[in-house]
Amino acid sequence: MSAEEWQIVWFTAWVSALSTLVILPGGLAAAWVLARYQWRGKTFVETAVTLPLVMPPVATGLILLKLLGRRGAIGGFLHDTLDFDVVYTWRGVLIALGVMSFPLLVRSARVAFEEVDSRLEQIARTLGAGNLRVFCTVTLPLASRGIVGGMLLAFARALGEFGATIMVAGNIPGRTSTLSLAIFQSVQLGQDANAFRLLGVSVVLAFAAVWSSEWLMRRKNR
């Protein structure tokens, strides 16, 4: 493999991992609130959170492009006040991946939180624990399987993301080109050998991700 191809693999892996970590706090918070509280308009929030999962990724990407571009509401502000660009940079890739994988993390984590017996949390309170301690010592450990599963799903989704990424970040070699984008481009240019090499790497990456999470869970259960 060429140095350029290694760069693409490396970039894809770390930007996917980083996007999973970036959405983790917000994802857990959203999942916990959805699992534990009822309020008017909850269905609307649920739907909004799930939207990126069911909309065409390119459409989601277009929305992000319009919001984050230099003339967009958020992108304009960032550019004018902080001289900070998102679109067509690695930060655009990060945001596209995060938005696309967010629903998967929230859904898994929410189910995991819902499955924690709330009686255990109540009794922890009678044993003198405050909300934060209950969350960290009872809720989180008991939900950890589902949360790790959700992180894996989010990571896998990020690895393979195509539509939203190409809208927000383009396919700039050496800067925003990810595995999926590079494979597509190789096939377009008739460079099948390159495409197959990258395909092989994708399989190895995906396998490693699933295998390591299985290994983690098994070790935890012992």
């Binding site: 017996d117 309170r125 003198g128 405050g130 009872v138």
Partner: protein, 358 residues
């Protein structure tokens, strides 16, 4: 201990829990059928649930007073709560479960030290195990110890023996009496088992459909259930319709079918003629052969119908013109060699024949 529960109003699925209650018992049994609101009551006391209106005071400390916006959070209430499903933390070891709520040194009551509680409940050998690998009785002891280690001011026990079989109940009960006697800790003990109530409690609160139907010292309530519902709940085994024949002051002669019984009853309204006759199975004495002369006023020739195992005791069904149930120790049963069809004489003292007007 004094526990005051007033102005409770908590809407539940099919009724509203409404009660006023004051108890100074060492162990107060909250007795009632399942679905009577017993667990909801414990949740209110522990601060895990909020009622529409409530006033709860333990000794001199007001824990809940909805009228004045007082609500002490669960973690500051000092209630040791052992729920029916025990709620042991499955991801922690026995030791970690025990230490979860352990308050070290504050108050410095050596009775509630880790070592003492572990010793009293004999938990030492279980310490390093995961709680999912404990037997039912072991889990029960760990849950009790975990609650005790918070140095609570009141222990709330929700049917602690309900999930155990007869043999295990007999093995866990001594731990409960030990807690009662060694720690001098007031307890609220939710149960629907008369044997547990008699063995452990000094006060009883009978709860039916969210309302207190009778309260008082255990012996009094068992001897004098206020209504047929209470008598049925407390499993006063013999409840028969009767008809009053004669009253001389408190001495009442009552007919159950063709059988005449003598009762002592002072709380009966003067114009009552139709009554429920209640006789607790423990109050029936059985004789084989000639009765001779006895102080018991009621001598009932009877025939043994069935003899069945009832935990530590044997239940004997007799037919003496009506069905009368007696509870005997196993030794007594063997000595009398009771078999179905045997003739016996049942003795019941007049004060043990309780009449409820119907």
């Amino acid at each position: 201990m004094s526990l005051v529960i007033k102005k409770i109003s908590l809407p539940l699925a099919s009724f509203t829990l409404e009660m006023d209650l004051e108890t100074r018992g060492r162990v107060t049994a909250v007795f009632g059928p399942s679905g009577a609101g017993k667990t909801s009551l414990l949740d209110l006391l522990a601060g895990l649930r909020r009622a529409k209106s409530a006033f709860i005071q333990l000794d001199d400390r007001v824990l809940t007073d909805t009228a004045n916006g007082v609500f002490v959070p669960a973690r500051h209430r000092g209630m040791g709560y052992v729920p029916q499903d025990l709620a042991l933390f499955p991801h922690l070891s026995v030791r970690q479960n025990l230490l979860y709520g352990h308050k070290r040194a504050d108050g410095a009551n050596p009775l509630f030290s880790f070592d003492h509680i572990v010793e009293v409940l004999e938990i030492g050998p279980l310490m390093q195990r995961g709680v999912t690998r404990l037997s039912g009785g072991e889990k029960q002891r760990v849950a009790l110890a975990r609650a005790l280690l918070t140095s609570p001011r009141l222990l709330l026990l929700d049917e602690p023996l309900a999930s155990l079989d007869m043999k295990l109940k007999g093995r866990i009960m001594p731990y409960l009496t030990r807690i009662r006697d060694k720690f001098r800790l007031p307890m609220l003990y939710v149960t629907h088992d008369r044997w547990e109530t008699l063995a452990l409690a000094d006060q009883i609160v009978v709860l039916v459909d969210g309302r207190v139907v009778q309260t008082g010292p255990v012996q009094d309530v068992f001897r004098r259930p206020a209504s047929v519902v209470v008598a049925g709940l407390l499993a006063v085994e013999t409840v028969q319709p009767g008809h009053i024949i004669r009253r001389v002051d408190e001495l009442v002669t009552v007919a159950v079918g063709s059988i005449m019984l003598t009762a002592v009853e002072k709380n009966l309204p003067a114009d009552t003629s139709e009554v429920h006759v209640c006789i607790r199975a423990e109050d029936v004495i059985l004789l084989k052969g000639d009765a001779g002369v006895s102080s018991a006023r009621n001598h009932l020739p009877a025939v043994v119908g069935s003899v069945t195992d009832a935990g530590p005791l044997m239940r004997v069904e007799l037919s003496c013109g009506f069905t009368l149930t007696a509870l005997l120790t196993k030794q007594a049963c063997e000595q009398l060699a009771l078999k179905p069809g045997n003739p016996v004489i049942a003795l019941v003292k007049a004060p043990n024949v309780h009449l409820i007007s119907r």
